[in-house]
């Protein structure tokens, strides 16, 4: 549960002095770039499949929310309280899109 007390910045001088800071930032950066792009790719594929529109329209439609998802993921990766949460916050929606894709590809008519 969020508390009213001020959250310390994960990038403050005190945080920088802690061991593992560099690794955590590198992990977040990877989550923001590779994770964000993967989320966008899955989002695009899922939306295109869900839309049921003709190919051109489905592709043009799917890229619009996918780009928003990518930027949101990148911001989230550095907003999250820890690198682990950063990854979880991206992996969870990615998994949902993945399930949608697998479902439509294999089970839907």
């Amino acid at each position: 549960m969020p508390t009213a007390s001020p959250t310390p910045s994960p990038y403050s001088r005190a945080a920088r002095a802690r061991p593992g800071y560099r690794r955590a930032v590198a992990s977040r950066a990877l989550a923001a770039t590779a994770g964000g792009y993967a989320l966008a790719a899955l989002c695009a594929a899922a939306v295109a499949l869900l839309s049921g529109a003709p190919r051109d329209e489905a592709i043009a439609l799917a890229v619009l929310p996918a780009l928003v998802a990518q930027i949101a993921a990148a911001v989230w990766a550095f907003w999250a309280a820890s690198a682990t949460r950063a990854w979880l916050g991206i992996a969870a929606p990615a998994a949902v899109f993945g399930v949608i894709i697998v479902w439509i590809q294999h089970f839907a008519a």
Binding site: A4, S5, P6, T7, P8, S9, P10, Y11, S12, A32, A40, A41, L42, A44, A45, A46, V47, A48, L49, S51, A53, P54, R55, D56, E57, A58, I59, A60, L61, A62, V63, L64, A66, L67, Q70, I71, A74, V75, F78, W79, I101, I104, Q105
Partner: protein, 496 residues
């Protein structure tokens, strides 16, 4: 203040998501802003070329030329002059070659153009998404820079507690960093929707390369791209089975129908000599924003009958086409286009001041802490000079080379580009060997002379007294004045 942690995190993110692509973004803003006047730049760089020519006459010359040099080519394409350009280009493709051959023609006489060879405004346009790098690296880097820019915009907005109040805040103090920060904020916030749309639309434009996964998922499901049905072929019917329709006739009729103001901008003839041959005419820009709303007429080259185009509609294509059209701004009239240009210039200022802010902030820390990080400061501060003043000087060199490289020299168009590369390399070298302050001051001074001299060079080498050349002179003088102010300010105040 329970969101302090959030704001601090966003400030940190803004710093790095802005710095890392900062130089590329600056270069894209400079060249992309210039690209709003792509045909006008070409016109400035070919002062001997005619102005405001008839698309109807030019098209008839082009068709005659193609019939002569490429009578058997299955594909023809013609790019016609319009209100903004007098360029007439013909393209043809002869298998097995996949590349199109091309020629530039004199739109009035029909012979090969005798105007000096130049890439003109095309250079800036290509640079702004290819970055003079081998394909497809420049495009990928430009796309990632756009994605970083969106992250920097979101985090930049999030750092502000009171966005609206900060928008009108400009502190005129002696405090070193404040005016820079305020200027950065004002340029950022005033045109914020423009920046968001320009970066977002850039990624939408490159969907096929940047985000091909929707298409791949559909293909995996078995929805292969639909091949357009061959039309015009009349199986076993009477009448001609190959194209016998005169392209000239169809073009002339349509051009007269559309009128000179917004005439035919492009002619495409495909599958010539086969029953599926088509003639497609595209009307000059100026109607709707969306690229998909382009007025296009397609005919069978066998029967001459118009071909009904399958309606390609849907919210995705509607939004995508609008974003693409917005990004190119070809729909815009001169006043609106100038406004786009001004917003592009503000974006250039935003990225430039953002880069400067990183060094100003870091300098405070370095002087107070006296620990590591000096290499990072040196690298960033010198790259800042090489890009923020070095690239514009290199662009000025492009215009100088346009008038100084002999008009008849073989490969002169490439020499104009070489002038950019050599000048940029020299400014970069200068930036890295000189002390920071001297580097800025000297490059500002060079910039002032380079831009200030251009209108005079123009007059001395064939420039005309007209609105186009006056407009260029105004922009060049403004850039020279800006550089001059920078040089003066840096030499007046004693060493920091």
């Amino acid at each position: 203040m329970k969101d302090t942690g959030f704001r601090n995190a966003m400030t940190w993110l803004h710093t790095w998501a802005g710095l890392l692509p900062g130089w590329v973004l600056f270069a894209i803003f400079v060249t992309g802003t210039a690209s709003y006047f792509r045909p006008e730049i070409t016109a400035w760089m070919q002062p001997e070329a005619p102005r405001r020519v008839s698309a109807l006459v030019a098209g008839q010359h082009a068709l005659a030329h193609l019939a002569e040099v490429a009578p058997d080519a299955p594909r023809w394409a013609i790019s016609l002059p319009d209100a903004r350009t007098s360029e007439l280009k013909v393209f043809w493709q002869e298998p097995p070659a996949r590349r199109f051959k091309s020629a530039e023609l004199d739109p009035q006489g029909g012979a090969e153009s005798t105007a000096r060879k130049t890439y003109g405004g095309e250079f800036f346009y290509r640079f702004h998404f290819q970055l003079m790098l081998p394909h497809p690296w420049g495009r990928w880097i430009a796309c990632f820079a756009a994605a970083f820019m969106l992250v920097a915009l979101v985090s930049g907005v999030a750092t502000h507690r009171r966005l609206l109040a900060d928008m009108f805040l400009f502190r005129r103090t002696r405090d070193g960093r404040r005016p820079w920060l305020d200027f950065h904020n004002v340029t950022a916030v005033l045109a914020l929707p423009f920046y968001v749309l320009i970066a977002y639309s850039a990624l939408v434009v490159f969907t096929h390369m940047y985000m091909p996964w929707a298409g791949k998922a559909l293909d995996a499901r078995g929805e292969k791209p639909a091949k357009p049905a061959v039309t015009g072929a009349v199986a076993g019917g009477e009448g001609p089975t190959v194209d016998t329709v005169s392209v000239d006739e169809i073009f002339t009729t349509t051009a007269k129908l559309w009128g000179e103001e917004r005439s035919v901008r492009r002619i495409d003839v495909t599958d010539r000599g086969t029953p599926g041959a088509t003639i497609t005419l595209t009307r000059a820009d100026g109607g709707a924003v969306s690229l998909h709303a382009r007025e296009v007429s397609k005919f069978s080259a066998v029967t001459g009958e118009p071909i009904e185009q399958a309606e390609k509609t849907g919210p995705g294509r509607a939004v995508g086409g609008w974003l693409y059209g917005f990004h190119l701004a070809r729909f815009a009239d001169p006043v609106l286009r100038t406004l786009f240009f001004v917003m592009g210039a503000m974006g250039t200022a935003m990225t430039g001041t953002g880069l400067a802010l990183w060094t100003l902030k870091r300098r405070e820390k370095l002087s107070s802490a006296g620990r590591g990080g000096r290499f990072g400061y040196w690298l960033v501060s010198r790259l800042n000079i090489a890009f923020v003043t070095g690239l514009p000087i290199a662009c000025a060199a492009y215009f100088w080379a346009n008038r100084l490289v002999p008009a008849g020299l073989a490969g002169r168009d490439q020499w104009e580009i070489n002038a950019v590369l050599i000048t940029w390399a020299v400014t970069a070298l200068h930036a890295f060997v000189r002390p920071e302050r001297a580097g800025w001051r000297e490059q500002f001074a060079v910039g002032a002379v380079a831009f200030g001299g251009l209108p005079l060079l123009d007059l001395a080498t064939g420039g005309r007294f007209d609105g186009l050349h006056a407009g260029f002179a105004a922009v060049f003088f403004a850039l020279a004045a800006f550089c001059g102010l920078g040089a003066r300010k840096l030499s007046k105040t004693s060493a920091a």
